[in-house]
């Protein structure tokens, strides 16, 4: 048995996967005609991937003890870059690269603000969310871009096509989840993020270039948010300048429901993966169960808060457990 196959089930995911299965079962009872068919699941695999991609980036950001609130504006900004380049210059792959570069730029600015200038990330990224959101509204003239023609292009099939019933974006998001798991848990960069989130002073004295790693982190988050924007814009075949709104709550909720520590230094990619699907399912399931749509946000907000409180308690229990051990040994 490799260390990976031992560590995965033991440390990560057992609890969250149980919750996931329980929720599926509950909805199967509450709304059997929806949740016993395959269509609803294919619909999740269409709608959840952008959220999942965001949650993966946020997992690393929160692992490093930081936060990024600017990603809803990257969804708009990079979505605009993509739609504009496609509509105006008929660019496809270059439009994707342009969108990713836009995300990298947003991330780089965030990183410099946080690492070099010392602005706390919650403030820096709140400000840049407004800034890039505003810029997007200005350059798009507040208009939406219909890009239905993109369905005939290769990139549409590569990123959001269907293999049989299966939406391709689900494969992209899953592959990214595996990659991010390895980066966070098995790569030097991920380890540096965990130590920075644990204690930035310790990170410094063990020789981690904290500022550089923070900038890299925010750039990575920006690029991932831009990729989420590309998936979303391609799937919708449309850009509209408020398309990022609504992602703030659900992407962050995915990470915290998954069990990543709000204090940094500890994070679970498996948790965020299932967290994203749990959120997607609660949204769809509530509607399918006949609860009015406007209740959905309130419920997601409550679940979010409940999950954070639950994980806080768990961390405290673990801490007191180790204290008991400490005294027991002495």
């Amino acid at each position: 048995m490799s260390a990976l196959s031992k560590a995965l089930p033991r440390i990560e995911g057992v609890a969250i996967i149980s919750v996931f299965v329980a929720i599926v079962l509950v909805f199967m009872v509450l709304a059997p005609n929806v949740f016993l068919g395959i269509r609803i699941y294919m619909s999740f695999l269409t709608s959840v991937p952008p959220v999942l991609v965001l949650a993966l980036g946020l997992t690393m950001v929160i692992a490093a003890g930081e936060i990024d609130l600017s990603f809803p504006s990257v969804i708009a900004f990079s979505g605009f870059i993509f739609a504009f380049l496609f509509k105006t210059y008929e660019l496809t792959w270059l439009a994707v690269i342009g969108a990713l570069a836009g995300g990298a730029l947003v991330g780089f600015v965030n990183g410099v603000l946080v690492a070099r200038i010392g602005v706390p990330s919650i403030i820096a990224t709140l400000a840049t969310q407004f800034f890039w959101g505003g810029i997007t509204t200005v350059v798009s003239g507040g208009l939406s871009y219909n890009i239905r023609a993109v369905k005939d292009e290769a990139i549409w099939h590569v990123f959001v096509g269907r293999i049989g019933l299966l939406p391709v974006q689900a494969l992209w998001a899953s592959a990214l989840a595996i990659l991010i798991w390895f980066i966070l848990n098995r790569h030097r960069f991920g380890e540096h993020l965990l130590f920075i989130g644990d204690n930035a002073n310790v990170a410094r004295v063990v020789g981690i270039n904290v500022d550089r790693e923070r900038i890299k982190l925010f750039v990575l988050m920006g690029v991932l948010a831009a990729f989420a924007a590309v998936l979303l814009t391609l799937e919708n075949k449309n850009f509209f300048n408020t398309q990022g709104q609504g992602f703030l709550l659900i992407a962050l909720a995915s990470v915290f429901i998954g069990g990543t520590s709000i204090f940094g230094g500890q994070a679970t990619v498996v948790g965020s993966f299932f967290g994203a699907f749990i959120i997607g399912m609660i949204e769809a399931g509530l509607v399918a169960s006949g609860i009015q749509g406007f209740w959905v946000r309130a419920v997601v907000g409550l679940v979010f808060l409940g999950a954070v409180i639950f994980h806080l308690r768990m961390e405290r229990v673990n801490a007191s457990g180790s204290f008991a051990k400490f005294f027991g040994r002495g």
């Binding site: 260390a3 790569h187 965990l194 644990d198």
Partner: protein, 268 residues
């Protein structure tokens, strides 16, 4: 091991360090011979920590020069990583270990065993970490292994881990920043034995310590820092422990602020 062809493992010349308007260090000339244990003493805020941070690449000075094994080092090339490469290791009081991280990560963070893409060889790191825990530090049957988180360890065990890490990386110079603070007496002895071990193995050590008895017993030379300047250097055997204690008390009483306060309180 052949005789190394250098006189000082590290030498700092005319070091100054200011934080804004606050001068933390001035005119520091400090050297450590190979196989010498130098005790660094002084009050809180005397500049001990700043001095070792500069020496080990955590901070850069405002002015001054650094020589390692008698060769001048460019500050722009100097960093914690570079200091590790030059086989300098530091054990900080509490700031050396990531609390929530397992020991196998703590042993290797900053110099992980990786493949070309930067992915960590977890298996090898864990095996080596377990070996260090068992054979170098002697955590036998203590229920501690490479997967234990630092948060589960006692203060002495943490120092043991940090010291074990320094030993594993075969340092020439080991800097100990108050390694016995907050330790039980039995654990203090272990740390002191380790400091002796440093000397016996031919390495050099800078030992920062509040407890004068410990440092007086162990150091080949004592360097006294006061308000950012070196005010005395005392060779082994030049002073008894009591003379040393009195000397330091004397030093404090001659501080201008203290002296003024004294005059005000005793108007004779």
């Amino acid at each position: 091991m052949g005789q190394p062809d250098f006189q000082h493992v590290v030498r700092l010349v005319d070091i100054e360090k200011s934080y804004g308007n606050v001068r933390a260090l001035s005119d520091i000339n400090f050297s450590v011979g190979r196989n010498e244990i130098v005790g660094l003493i002084g009050d809180n805020g005397a500049g001990k920590s700043t001095l070792i941070k500069i020496m080990t690449g955590v901070d850069k000075p405002t002015a001054g020069e650094l020589y390692i094994r008698d060769r001048k080092v460019d500050w722009n090339d100097y960093s914690v990583g570079k200091a590790h490469e030059l086989r300098f290791e530091t054990v900080y009081q509490e700031k050396s270990l990531g609390e929530k991280q397992p020991l196998w990560r703590n042993f290797f963070v900053g110099r992980q065993i990786t493949n070309r893409l930067g992915f960590i060889d977890v298996k090898r790191q864990k095996a080596i970490a377990d070996d260090i825990l068992l054979n170098q530090i002697g955590f036998r049957g203590a229920g501690i292994n490479a997967d234990s988180a630092v948060a589960q360890l006692s203060g002495g065990e943490r120092q043991g881990v940090a010291i074990g890490r320094a030993m594993h990386f075969d340092a020439d110079l080991i800097v100990l920043d108050e390694p016995t603070v907050a330790l039980a007496i039995s654990e203090v002895r272990k740390v002191l034995d380790f400091v002796r071990g440093i000397k016996e193995s031919g390495r050099a050590c800078v030992y920062i310590e509040h407890n004068l008895a410990h440092v007086h017993e162990l150091a080949d030379r004592l360097v006294v820092l006061d308000r950012g300047a070196i005010v005395a250097e005392i060779g082994r055997g030049e002073m008894t422990l009591i003379e040393l204690t009195n000397f330091l008390i004397e030093l404090q009483q001659h501080r201008p602020a203290d002296a003024a306060a004294k005059r005000a309180s005793t108007p004779s």
